[in-house]
Symmetry: C2
Subunit: 229 residues, 2 copies
DNA sequence: AGCGCTACTGCCAGAATCTGACAGTATCCT
DNA sequence: AGGATACTGTCAGATTCTGGCAGTAGCGCT
């Protein structure tokens, strides 16, 4: 196996074990000596991979992912850039910042002529959306990723407020509002919650008892148009 | 210089010369022997780079770019995926297809757990937009890239139709409509054209006499809010 | 403090790979 | 036909990679 392939394998290995792994184990898994492993890790770190090694513990890969070299057509690049720009304009601050960072990383490695196009932004995106919800949607995204329950106060269309505990499994980006899709414990049904009507949001420690994918599938089945992706 | 760096340099070299380049010249430029060059080209092709060699001519890199290995945080990946999904829903067929392809390429290299999230689409995008313009926006994008004049029939808000020749330099994606931003020869001024009111679109052979970036800069200066990217 | 575990570095000889040169074939264009 | 060029096989020398060894340093535990 060539060295460059092995470096990618090493990242996959690190991703598999979430907890710190000793260099010895990684070396065995890859079939190389520990000395070479140290060299490989140094190379990856040199390329920007966020691998952390601590004496007495082992290595951890901070969450994130290294895309291997990938070939895109110019239209594909334009599509990615346009989309990221749209996301960067969304009021969700965390996601918006992430989109900006991703754009910067991509721009940094593009050849000169394309970078110009990108800076000059041949593709424009409409003005930012106005709705600014008081809650941090990053919290919602994280709860979805970890399958954690959420508690909050919800003010429905009529203005009546109610306390809810829900199992969130998707986040929608529609015209002007962002919508949390979840199973509502309080109502024992699937519900959509407009983000701008949510208050006092709080992640609960409890993990909800069903798999996110199963919930999503079931929810889709209840819709008229199953193609909701 | 390490081999992997050199491979990227080789791609850059190929991008610089748009017309076919002989292997001899590339080898000289990189300071390697022609034999090694052939090996490098073979390696790149093996990795998916669309390099074409023809006997008697030389090498050409089909338009497109290879992104080197790049590290993204999970939020950055989510931002890219969400954005690409939004683009994929746009009525612009070419760009939409490109977004779909880009998503497929990214999905193909994501580790299993992340791919699940992606398939399950934790992040939803609103319904596709309704407006369907009769023209092919791919033609417009290409004219913008190549700084070519466009001719078409435009039906303005009042319903009056007029023949136009314009220098297009940007494409806007707003709420429901796509807008071509251009210098209008007919009116001698900057104008916005809603894509759904354009008919009989045709790329003219003539290149327009000014640089796209200069036009864009000038146009921005005429706006209230200069931050239009 | 002392011990075990681990990350990390420098060094060196052998293994693996890469490189350049040469020879030869195939294909395209004029 | 002739010239230019892409491509392949082979092989010795250059370069890089690799594994083992020795040693330093940081962390957690007893």
């Amino acid at each position: 196996m060539s060295r460059s392939e092995r470096l990618l394998d090493l990242i996959q290995c690190l991703r598999r074990h979430r907890r710190p792994v000793s260099g010895r184990m990684l070396a065995d898994e890859l079939g190389i000596s520990i000395r070479t492993l140290y060299r490989d890790i140094a190379t990856l770190q040199g390329q920007g991979a966020p691998i952390e090694g601590e004496a007495g513990l082992g290595y951890v890969l901070k969450p994130g992912f290294m895309l291997p070299p990938l070939m895109f057509s110019d239209e594909e690049i334009e599509a990615i850039v346009l989309g990221s720009r749209w996301v960067a304009k969304q009021p969700d601050r965390r996601l918006s910042a992430a989109a900006g960072n991703a754009l910067a990383k991509i721009a940094a490695v593009l050849p000169q002529d394309l970078r110009e196009d990108l800076d000059a932004s041949t593709l424009l995106v409409g003005p930012a959306m106005t709705a600014i919800e008081g809650i941090d949607l990053g919290v919602v995204r994280q709860a979805i990723r970890n399958e954690r329950k959420l508690g909050f106060l919800y003010r429905d269309a009529g203005g009546a407020a109610s306390q809810r505990v829900v199992w969130p499994f998707a986040l929608g980006f529609f015209d002007k509002v962002r919508v949390v899709v979840a199973w509502c414990e309080t109502r024992q049904d699937f519900r959509h919650f407009r983000a701008d009507r949510i208050a006092e949001l709080k992640t609960l420690d409890a993990r909800y008892p069903r798999r996110r994918l199963a919930l999503l599938k079931e929810w889709r089945a209840t819709l008229d148009k199953p193609r909701g992706s």
